[in-house]
């Protein structure tokens, strides 16, 4: 009987988290367009519903009924699988991120995280790397020169920035002494890690921008030079899947920043999940703000910056943090 309750609990948690995440993603597209509009002194979408509130639904219906085109040059199986890889990886990343303390419902103690695993943070990074395959394979299988260039850039950028991203996070792991995300949050009960690691926080935001391929690091799909890059040939639902994956990845990265540096669900008065969502929204807003502020960097500058500044800085952060913790 216990086993069935456990399965029921997992299924319900999955359904709740995925539906909230999808809702978030849908309205994130609207929020981003609105914020970008205001940042560039225009109105943004305002035709469908008041304040453009029905725009995500209109977009969804539109991409659902569009014609699905597979180019003749395309490598069909890979072309079809690529968006799915992106989508699945982006969704499954969220599984280990804790969004609240445990609550008691119907006499059962329920942890507010889908899977509280021992090596949570490594799992997030593993899934993040897999998500990148969707972009690389999508670009390669389209059989289009711009798409291949986008895929190549995505692969190179991912190899360069994933290393730095892993190193930056080691600082917080040293401070909390655990790879389990719930324990990392618990370790921040007194002081958030952003206080101990302000430099790592800034580096993390830069590396995370590169990880989710957003301006100023949106090399794989730089519109002005590659004409949309890896997703140039995609249409209809496959294109929508890429878009959903990209925004879900953005939400997950913001949630991970919250967990690692901003004390996760911890906060006074309000319940845990509310704090968690608030902090995540602030992080998402910062990412949109950066997109509205900075121009795209040049490709060789990105590589140079990644290897010659970000990587050594992250390494120095690890060494200094380890040294201070060892002295204590």
């Amino acid at each position: 009987m216990e086993l069935y309750y456990f399965i029921l609990e997992v299924v319900i948690k999955n359904l709740v988290v995925i539906s909230i995440l999808m809702l978030f993603v849908a309205y994130l597209t609207l929020a981003e367009r609105k914020f970008l509009g205001y940042l560039q002194v225009r109105l943004g979408p305002n035709r469908v519903g008041t304040w453009g509130l029905l725009q995500p639904i209109a977009d969804g219906i539109k991409s659902f009924v569009k014609e699905d085109i597979i180019p003749t040059n395309a490598d069909k199986p890979v072309y079809v699988i690529a968006p799915m890889i992106s989508f699945v990886a982006a969704l499954s990343m969220f599984a280990v991120i804790p969004f609240g303390e445990s609550v008691t419902l119907f006499g059962r103690e329920i942890k507010l995280v889908i899977a509280d695993v021992d090596i949570g943070i490594l799992y997030v990074f593993a899934m993040g790397t897999l998500g990148e395959y969707g972009i690389v394979l999508g670009g390669w299988s389209s059989g289009n020169k711009y798409a291949i260039l986008g895929a190549l850039r995505a692969a190179a950028q991912m190899i360069s920035y994933e290393v730095a991203l892993g190193l930056i996070v080691i600082g917080t792991i040293i401070l909390s002494g655990s790879l389990r995300l719930t324990e990392i949050v618990e370790a921040q009960r007194d002081v958030w890690f952003i206080v101990y690691q302000p430099f790592a926080f800034l580096l993390y935001i830069v590396a995370a921008l590169a990880e989710v391929n957003r301006t100023p690091f949106d090399m794989p799909e730089s519109e002005s030079e590659l004409a949309c890059g890896f997703n140039i040939e995609y249409s209809s639902m496959k294109f929508a899947l890429f878009m959903i994956a990209e925004y879900a990845h953005l939400v997950t990265v913001s949630a991970l920043t919250t967990t690692l540096f901003l004390g996760g669900w911890l906060g006074p008065v309000l319940p845990g999940p509310v704090w968690f969502i608030l902090k995540t929204c602030v992080m998402i807003f910062i990412f949109i703000w950066i997109r509205g502020t900075y121009p795209r960097m040049r490709y060789d500058h990105i590589m140079k910056f990644g290897w010659k500044f970000l990587f050594p800085a992250a390494l120095a952060n690890v060494v200094i943090t380890a040294f201070i913790v060892a002295l204590r």
């Binding site: 490598d75 890979v78 695993v117 021992d118 090596i119 490594l122 799992y123 990074f125 593993a126 790397t129 897999l130 990148e132 395959y133 690389v136 394979l137 390669w140 059989g143 291949i148 895929a151 190549l152 692969a155 190179a156 991912m158 190899i159 994933e162 655990s178 790879l179």
Partner: protein, 178 residues
């Protein structure tokens, strides 16, 4: 269904996927498809590690091999032949009869060894220093870390110096050819 039966079914599926995808990896003509099947192989291997309660090794497998290294391989393949070039059909014709015989003999020997191993395999009674429950109590990553930086510190450092030599060597060779 009990947990052990469920694990057995999972193991059979993962093992079959490993075998099938590695055969496909070796037989595909397009190098990118080979690389993709290799990623699938690594994934199924990670599932087998998970079944053995080695979460850290499983995730490291996915992150390092299926993630970073295969991404590098894909990058190189895409860089080197952008025109989706299929492998040239030179290998088949150039194999002489002697080589074919040698290959067949090797195959038979390996098969016999495999059968021998499968038939005469016995579970050893000796329990190692790190049985599953001890690992679970200490935490997976902690156990691996303690072993790597304690008991096996010297081999670990030697291996890292070897890797460093490899990197420096590659840079030297690349510079000389310019």
């Amino acid at each position: 269904m009990d947990a052990i039966g469920f694990k057995f079914i999972l193991f059979m599926i993962a093992a079959l996927v490993v075998i099938v995808s590695s055969v496909l990896m070796a037989t595909r003509k397009n190098p990118i498809h080979s690389a993709l099947w290799m990623i699938v192989t690594f994934f199924a291997m990670a599932i087998i590690y998970l079944l053995l309660n080695a979460q850290f090794i499983a995730v490291a497998q996915v992150m390092v091999y299926a993630g970073a290294i295969m991404m590098l391989i894909l990058f190189v393949i895409m860089m080197v032949n952008m025109d989706k070039g299929n492998r040239e059909e030179t290998t088949k014709a150039s194999w002489s009869l002697g080589k074919k015989m040698a290959a067949a003999l090797l195959m038979v020997i390996l098969l016999v060894e495999l059968l021998f191993g499968a038939l005469f395999y016995r579970m050893t009674a000796r329990v190692g220093d790190y049985p599953a429950d001890a690992v679970a109590a200490a935490g997976n990553a902690k156990t691996v870390g303690a072993l790597l930086y304690g008991q096996y510190l010297f081999p670990f450092e030697v291996a890292s110096i070897l890797l460093l030599i490899g990197i420096v060597g590659a840079v030297v060779i690349a510079k000389r050819n310019k």
